[in-house]
């Protein structure tokens, strides 16, 4: 077993999907010769040809709109949106067409399209390169939304997303692209739709996805090291649908939950989790569900992003506040 980065694991997962199914196509800006600005598609055009790894014109609506047409023709396109903040030109095609066409067709049409989006901040980028737009898509019926947090999940989840017959928005934690883990390609993956308890604990449940899983885990280790409260960490993995069974089982045990997410909190995935936990586990709760998120501001200039992004200290502060009830 080799150590691979999250980015390389995605690359290997994409390769595997293309080997397994000749209908799988990759399309996006700079995905061919360059291998993508993050090199996630590195070498794929060389091995699978320009017919299957397509450098597209620079227009996101066109990427998703033509992917819909290719899917209608029987193909299984994987679209790369270069950065989170560039998905909005494609928003119309994703929300009005991709999400609704199968429903409108009464089940006659399937659009097995995966839209990969590197998301989140922490890389010192300029504006529009550090956003967390997942709530827009989770809000849209007809789409499924997932986020990987580690190399092993990246490898398996991207293949599962591509194999799914539903349209999936696949978020990749760009600041974690270079983090490494042991990958056993022969392992049996969890369901794409299941959350995972990545660290067991007794006192408070931390809920996170994508880049914030590591922050939550760091907070849990720090708390243990300092003799603080015992924190359970759940990696949601799927944002829509949410695996509420796993979430509720944990919160019913700990009685306290803190959601950690980079996105602004207003009408967010964190809000949805807080609402559902309140509805389903009210009598188990010892305190309100707290949210540690980005602020309800535009993503700031990068010199301020460390203040904007939830970090270990803000998570532990929220843990203290929830325990103070």
């Amino acid at each position: 077993m080799a150590q691979v980065t999250l980015g390389k694991a995605l690359n290997e997962g994409l390769r595997k999907s293309m080997e397994n199914d000749p209908k799988v196509l990759i399309m996006g800006e700079d995905v061919g010769k360059l291998g993508g600005v993050f090199r996630i598609t590195d070498g794929l055009q060389k091995d699978f040809g320009e017919d299957r790894v397509i450098d597209t014109p620079l227009a996101e609506s066109g990427i998703v709109g033509t992917a819909i047409g290719l899917a209608l023709r029987g193909y299984r396109p994987v679209c790369e949106i270069q950065f989170d903040g560039f998905v909005y030109p494609a928003f119309d095609q994703i929300v009005t067409q991709l999400a609704k066409y199968p429903y409108r067709s009464g089940g006659n049409v399937r659009l097995p399209i995966t839209i990969r989006i590197p998301f989140g901040g922490g890389i010192g980028a300029v504006e529009h390169h550090s956003e967390s737009p997942e709530a827009y898509f989770a809000h849209t019926a007809g789409l499924k939304v997932v986020a990987c947090s580690n190399p092993v999940d990246a490898y398996f989840m991207v293949q599962q997303a591509i194999a799914s017959d539903d349209p999936i928005v696949f978020f990749e934690p760009k600041r974690r692209y270079w983090e490494k883990a042991e990958l056993d390609p022969a392992a049996t993956p969890d369901s794409l739709w299941s959350a995972r308890v990545v660290r067991e604990g007794r006192d408070v449940t931390l809920l996170a996805y994508g880049p914030m899983v590591k922050v939550a885990l760091d907070a849990a280790f720090a708390s243990e090291k300092e003799g603080g409260p015992s924190l359970e960490v759940i990696d949601l993995r799927s944002i829509s649908p949410l695996d509420m069974d796993t979430v509720l089982a944990s919160v019913q045990r700990t009685g306290r939950a803190v959601v950690v997410s980079e996105a602004p909190s207003n009408c967010s995935v964190a809000s949805e989790l807080a609402a559902r936990i309140s509805e389903k586990a009210f009598y188990s709760l010892e305190a309100p569900v707290l949210r540690v998120t980005g602020f309800d501001t535009p993503y700031p200039p990068s010199r301020l992003e460390e203040e904007y992004l939830p970090d270990l200290d803000r998570v532990l502060d929220a843990v203290d506040r929830t325990l103070a009830y």
Binding site: V64, G69, L72, R73, P102, V109
Partner: protein
Amino acid sequence: MSAKAPASSGPAESADTVELVQLLTPEGERVSHPDYDISLTDDEYRELYRDLVLTRRVDTEATALQRQGELGIWASLLGQEAAQVGSGRAMRPSDFAFPTYREHGVALTRGVDPLVLLGLFRGVSNGGWDPFEKNFGLYTIVIGSQTLHATGYAMGIQKDGTDDAVVAYFGDGASSQGDVNEAFIWAAVFNAPIVFFCQNNQWAISEPLERQTRIPLYQRARGFGFPGVRVDGNDVLATLAVTRAALDRAREGSGPTLIEAFTYRMGAHTTSDDPTRYRLSSELEAWKLKDPLERMRAFLGRQQLADKSYFDKLEVEAEELAVRLREGCRSMPNPPTANLFEQVYVEDTPRVAEQRATFQAYLDSFEGSHGGTH
């Protein structure tokens, strides 16, 4: 022979180089064109006229059904029959058409039952037909979106290596949309086997063509790197000939063509619209003289291809179709409540399953107190 386009439509039409392909004059006189010709059998001429008549009858019946409260809304194609029948008949069954929401004539030529078109406008479905059954996409209401789907589909044909082609329908208003312009770029760059068929009916609801463009629309194609041609959209022979040639070009691997079918929306945008607020009735009167059905009827008579008994029989057939639509529409059932939750996903989510179950339980809770289903 080519004819000058009408000069009455504002600055967009002021270019004196504008030419339009015409094979049948408004008076029903057959004329020739150096680049486009068509040779049809007597039966084929009659069939085209039949398509035009049936298409118009579907349209007038649907408008009446809306007035009677049977449809929530209807988007009339009155005046655009020749553009739709000609282009529709140029396609092979294995080609694929991507319509807007006004392509009732194209639907007819593809063999889609006009009754299923009504479902969308009645509100019993957001779609209504299987797009793969007749290779006719679902009606698309967001303006211009379908041109990208059409382009992607054409790219798929190219990958599959068949000689099928695609027709993407849109209008003069849609020509301003980013998606349409992106579709032009994609199709050109990938040399996709597609025909962009723009029905320029002069009006985007209340906005005249001059609000969408400063040059004739077909001339835009040149900037994207493929040919554009303007055809008399009220001439079914010309729209058939020009679309057939463009499809042949696509099949041969020569890439996209933009066809601008110069026509006129003789009715309102939809049954909810009131065109008296924004256009002069004299404009409509002028276009009535170029009616697509009248010129074909005159041609058939002049050429002695059809006599009174043919026209009478066709009238009976059209009326029978209207009766079938009327009765079929009135008896079209509302979808069952459970349909709310169906086909949102191929693989259902726990959330949808939960909402289906709790909503059903809510409905069932009324049974005891109200003595029936909610």
